[in-house]
Symmetry: C2
Subunit: 97 residues, 2 copies
Amino acid sequence: MKSNLYEKKAKIFKALSNPVRLEIMDFLANGEKCVCEIVENLDYEQPHISKSLIKLKEAGLIKDRKEGLNVYYSLKICCMGEFFNCLNKILESESKS
Amino acid sequence: MKSNLYEKKAKIFKALSNPVRLEIMDFLANGEKCVCEIVENLDYEQPHISKSLIKLKEAGLIKDRKEGLNVYYSLKICCMGEFFNCLNKILESESKS
DNA sequence: TGACAATATTCCAAAAATGGAATATTATAA
DNA sequence: TTATAATATTCCATTTTTGGAATATTGTCA
């Protein structure tokens, strides 16, 4: 039971443990975007973006919506802001020490 | 600049992306503990615990304090609670869908 | 000093993540 | 139906992570 829960949590962190995926999360914080917009704005190959999105989706962090040829992704998590504020605090306290 | 920041954040998430290290973080949420207490309470080998602690420390998530033969570890992060509340929300919303 | 307890380190093989390149799928419109 | 745009998938070599086993280091006390 308990160890299973830690594994689930670990998977979420693993999805976030990559700079490209974090950049995508940050971009999606501005609202729903289609894959093409993400590819245009972030400087990575389309298959790389696509794979990253799928990992984030599998982790339950984002959701998708199809509309014709396009697929729109958006954050599924309401508390992502707090999450990243915490991160920033960590990085601040590091830069001091 | 920016990508570097994403890399730093990714490293923090990477440190948290392992069930053993998460269990240690959880245990340390109860307050400062020496390595021996952690080894006694969690069911992993001492070298495994030791390596895990060092990774968490390198990520800036915990700090250590030596006292004689013992080394005491404690959380360095004030907002870990919010962090994990967010995680729980994520897992809840997953179990619903 | 020597023995011992607490912690850290090294070595290693297996598993997983990474990202580039090529290709496949899907939906639309002409 | 065919061409095309948007997105996803597969393949693959390289790098990184993982955790077990053995061993080393460090501090204390007799």
